[in-house]
Symmetry: C2
Subunit: 221 residues, 2 copies
């Protein structure tokens, strides 16, 4: 698989839910591949606000962006197993095996593309951010059929999208009321009706369509 390192390099470690895997300002000498579980990167502002840089699932690699030291911490959202690989090892490997260099570049470029779309998403409305988030989870996260697992808390989602937890909650319930999703407790949602069985990439586009409809009570404008 593109995106995973050889099983012969690095060390494997486990972290319990809520544990810190990387601390902000840690020297950036390693990259991390998730074997199982979910991780998010975070940054705390001095005034106490928290920001989430991204969510990473089984198979994802994080820590690629840091040159000298990490600007974001990483914490386990669920119990997690990660393979930790020294960059030094990768550099050495890259000399003998050219594919390693290409793989690393490809991983980094892909991460760059994801961050680019996140930046674009964040300059849109709250509802569009939630829709984009759901689409991202549908294609990248943990989904079985039309059920999308949301292992992170609403607070994590809010901190990722630059919204408050209340706004996330309200918009999620708005989407449910309008028939786009069904909320399954705190940790999952289900895509409904027209959205089921669609390729995830189409989702964001499809969702777009519902945003102007106003069936607040029963009557359309």
């Amino acid at each position: 698989m593109f995106g995973s390192f050889s099983e012969r390099i690095g060390v494997v470690r486990s972290y319990a839910r809520k544990r810190e895997i990387v601390r902000e300002d840690d020297p950036a000498t390693r990259v991390y591949e998730i074997i199982s579980g979910t991780v998010c990167t975070t940054k705390m502002l001095r005034d106490g606000r928290r920001q989430v840089g991204g969510f990473y699932f089984s198979g994802d690699v994080f820590g690629l962006e840091a040159a000298v030291k990490h600007s974001l911490a990483a914490q386990a959202i669920t119990d997690v197993r990660v393979r930790i690989v020294k960059k030094q090892t990768l550099s050495a490997l890259a000399l003998s095996d050219c594919k390693v260099a290409g793989r690393l570049l490809s991983l980094t470029a892909r991460e760059l593309a994801r961050k680019q779309s996140l930046a674009l998403l964040l300059s849109r409305t709250a509802q569009e951010r939630l829709i984009g988030f759901i689409a991202e989870m549908a294609q990248h996260g943990i989904s079985k059929g039309d059920r999308i697992a949301l292992p992170m808390t609403r607070q994590d989602i809010a901190d990722y999208l630059g919204l408050t937890i209340e706004t996330v909650s309200r918009i999620l319930h708005d989407l449910e009321r309008r028939g786009a999703i069904k909320i399954k407790g705190y940790n999952a949602i289900v895509l409904r009706g027209q959205f089921v069985e669609r390729g995830a990439e189409e989702l964001a586009d499809l969702f777009e369509g519902i945003k102007d409809r106003q069936p607040k009570t029963k009557q359309a404008a």
Copy 2:
């Protein structure tokens, strides 16, 4: 210099102000190094809204994120000269000269770090976005002493920060009224007082301090 390609590869082209250098959905077979001038990447939404993905100045490289096709267009903000290099050429070069591969990875990782901070910036308030933007221009853009050139329009800035042109204008003037900057016409600002002669990295931190002061008229709360 790290971040620039050899003068012996690629072709150099010139583009007049406002010209499109890369079109959205163009095949992503090349990367672009700016020799002179300023470029921005843009994306149009179907409803007519415009988003700016980033500003690129002399020495910067853009087009690194695209795997198959570009998801953003690129347009010349000023008259521009760019060196255009085929990725294929770079791959070939990487085989004989390992430094090329490392350089490309480093450029991509740096771009990733910048996009990461942009994403974090976009989840903050309008004033914080402007302050972050100014800090970015101070360290990355075109500045002579304390004068920071802003070759882009207010609309470009607004589309970059996910704000309206009116909000950009209001906040800029707010910062001026509070003594942080001086607006020099449409295309430059000057850092003032305590902000002059600071390392650009400190700027964002320094600016932070002013945001709570309220010398609206003459009186402090």
